[in-house]
């Protein structure tokens, strides 16, 4: 697991500077002051981001937050209005060919040539990349339960997604850029995807995972950046984000609850007492609560698993 940085809303550079790189000194992705305007619309504004080599980096945000625009700038599909981008030590504009040789990209909005078979598309991309390992191709097709002989137009959206996943994981790339990779995949395939991500990470591959599916990022990523209206509002470790998340607490006492002590407990809010039952929301460490409860007769304690989604929503509330 990567070392995590303190979660600092809106100060991504500071956050990333505090984090120890997973592998190698220079970052896999370094974005400084990136801005991209579409006429009067500012899709991305003053975005700073650093992704360490060898980590799985979650890029979170709702639709329209600027995730895809940022990714398309990394690939030189879009030309930034301002800012500087370095990917694997290279400038995407100047060294685009050399850079794209070392990375693979899975687009979020998948539009694959309708009349081509999956095998035909893999072969075509293989010719552009200097060839693929056919054994690895077949192994991935089996794992993804994908029939390579079928035409794109005959494939469901989930199966098309599998074709794109196969292409992304087939090349032995140093960096995988995956934009909404599990859209349309069934739960079994989502698990397979997570296995592929873990295997790639174990090989030292850096994975930049853009998603609005929080549970997916929660399971896969070491660190996350949260994007809102084209700005990074927070960067940090997933564990840190989870710690920051609010937890629902449900305690049954075997005696009248210690309401005064509970009211003084740091981080415990929305306390509701129903006879001997206490419902509350806890943000921050749980240790003080456990110490308090240990001094009282407790029949049961229910603590809901902290959810990134809640932390994510909290961040948005804070940033708004």
């Amino acid at each position: 697991m990567a070392a995590t940085s303190p979660l600092e809303a809106g100060t991504s550079a500071a956050a990333t500077a505090a984090a120890a790189p997973v592998g190698g000194a220079d970052p896999a992705i370094l974005i400084e002051g990136l801005a991209k305007d579409y006429g009067p619309v500012q899709a991305v504004q003053a975005l700073d981001l650093e992704v360490h080599r060898g980590e799985v980096f979650g890029f979170l945000g709702p639709n329209g937050a600027g995730k895809t625009t940022t990714i398309r700038c990394l690939l030189d599909l879009l030309r930034p209005t301002a800012g500087r981008i370095t990917v694997l030590g290279l400038d995407p504009r100047r060294d685009g060919i050399a850079l794209r040789r070392r990375l693979t990209y899975m687009p979020g909005e998948l539009r694959l040539p309708e009349r081509m078979t999956a095998a035909g598309l893999v072969a075509a991309i293989g010719r552009l990349r200097g060839g693929f390992d056919t054994r690895r191709r077949d192994e991935l097709a089996t794992r993804l339960d994908l029939d390579l002989g079928r035409r794109m137009r005959d494939l469901s959206s989930g199966n098309r997604r599998k074709v794109a996943l196969l292409l992304a994981f087939l090349a032995d790339a140093e960096l995988l850029i995956l934009d909404e990779p599990t859209n349309g995949l069934d739960p079994l395939m989502q698990r397979e995807f997570l296995r592929l991500v873990r295997e790639a990470r174990a090989r030292g591959t850096t994975i930049f995972l853009s998603s609005h599916v929080l549970s997916e990022v929660q399971r896969a990523a070491d660190r996350v950046a949260v994007l809102r209206q084209g700005r990074v509002v927070a960067v940090g470790g997933v564990d840190e984000l989870r710690r920051r998340a609010r937890q629902r607490i449900d305690v049954w006492f075997d005696a009248p609850p210690p309401t005064e002590e509970l009211a003084r407990l740091p981080g415990l809010v929305d306390v509701a007492v129903e006879d001997r039952r206490v419902l509350a929301t806890l943000s921050g460490p749980i240790q003080p609560l456990l110490e308090l409860l240990a001094r009282h007769p407790v029949l049961s304690l229910l603590v809901e698993e902290p959810d990134l989604e809640q932390a994510f929503l909290d961040l948005y509330k804070d940033a708004a």
Partner: protein, 268 residues
Amino acid sequence: MTRRWWELIAGPFRASWRAGLGWTILLVLLIVSTVAFWPAFRGSSGISQAIDQLPGPLLKAFGLEDFGTAAGYLRGGLYEVLVPLVFAAAGIVFANTMTAGDEDAGHLELFLAQPVSRMAVITGRSLAVLGWLIVLTLVTVVSQLGSDALFGVPIDTGRVLVTIALCALLGAFDAGVCIAVAGASTRPGLVLSAGFGVAYSSYLVLALFQLSPLLDPWRHVSPWDWALGGDPLTNGGDAWRFLALGVGAVLLAALGIVGFDGRDVRSA
């Protein structure tokens, strides 16, 4: 040629085989069915005289002068309007589909994310358009010369080849217009409009300007005039006509390739 370049050219070429087959069938049917009527016109002074009685400007505009001769018949029936129009339309449609059409459909993104330059991708597609125009040229040559032999059309083979080559270059020029516009715009509608606009207006300029002594000198601004204004079936083709169309097509395509390299790629 490296495998990478081969894929950049052959990929879009293969993807357009249905359209290519359609244009091929159209050209073969058009040429064979027109030439098949030549024996009915040959030596029939009545039909020639009837056509000659049409107003002079009309005869000029539609290339119907000397309709009783083999060159006049092929010019009026095929090479004044129809065959160059098919080449122009094919060039425009191929160029639009392989550039702005594919970009608009989101098909370029996956290829542009590979270790190839944008310039190489669009150059490959421009060469694929050229490849299809060469195929259509060969189809036209075979259909025309075969039909001429089958139906006994007495015409100089060299001049037929020159005329077909000029029609193909006109198609390449119009395709070049589309690639140039696609370099600046991601809208297939705009690219098609520009291509057909240039093709149609250049035909109108040639057909109509020659009817007015005042406008006649200006017909030379028309690429259609560069291709067919000198009546190549009768007179052969001047070198400058090949150069003007060929160099024009290359410059326009180069403009589009440079333009595409300098702008954002449209997302799906």
